[in-house]
Subunit: 134 residues, 2 copies
């Protein structure tokens, strides 16, 4: 069911410093910061040959990652995203096996313009897992 | 400098349950458990089309992930691994820019039989980063 690892998202306390580190110290291909006000984050995409790293920094008052950075002031891996072909079928299958989907259970349009869902970390080895329909 | 994301490593409290979940609920290609006594872990590799997930469980008395699971009883993402072509050049470049390498600073042979180093999480946005020479 799951396909490619679409991205690993890392919450960072200083977006400019983290972007500079990936560009200069790690020599990666680093994009420009993109404000995603609907998602409460500013994102910097790092393009690796086989997947992406997304650096996330809070944007606005209700950012979903503000609490994560309060608990983890140095930053940390916030979630991993797996691609699925049919997000409704994936959700129904997972729910039938007892996994919890966060929020209303209905897909939202994610930062890439595609339907996404998040699965409960307690059901997935402490990892926040995003599913993105591709 | 960094190339592909080689793997994401997830520490799990119950290796059989986590492997079954990735195989049955998430429909991924899941390998058999492999004991890695030199590294203090038992590993299950999950092969995605573009990278790998490594499920890690403590093996033996001095497992490097036992403490992590004590702090994170549900499990969690333990580290991410980037590929590099020349691990000594990568290390020297990172150290020249002030990043700390864990342990002696000399590469060890990792679970894939290739030279690896770990970078200090406080220098990398709270993420434990492994570099593997490929």
């Amino acid at each position: 069911m799951i396909g490619r690892l679409n991205h690993v998202a890392i919450a960072v306390p200083d977006l400019d410093a983290a972007a500079a580190q990936y560009r200069d110290a790690l020599g990666a291909e680093v994009g420009a910061p993109q404000a995603e006000p609907d998602h409460g984050v500013t994102v910097v995409f790092i393009t690796l040959p086989n997947t992406k790293i997304e650096l996330l920094h809070p944007l606005g008052a209700d950012s979903p990652i503000a609490g994560f950075l309060q608990k983890n002031p140095s930053g940390g891996i916030h979630h991993i995203c797996y691609e699925v072909e049919d997000i409704i079928a994936a959700r129904d299958n997972l729910q039938a096996q007892g996994a919890r989907v966060l929020g209303t259970g209905e897909p939202k349009i994610g930062a890439h313009g595609k339907p996404v869902l998040f699965l409960h970390p307690k059901d997935f080895n402490g990892c926040l897992v995003e599913l993105e329909e591709v």
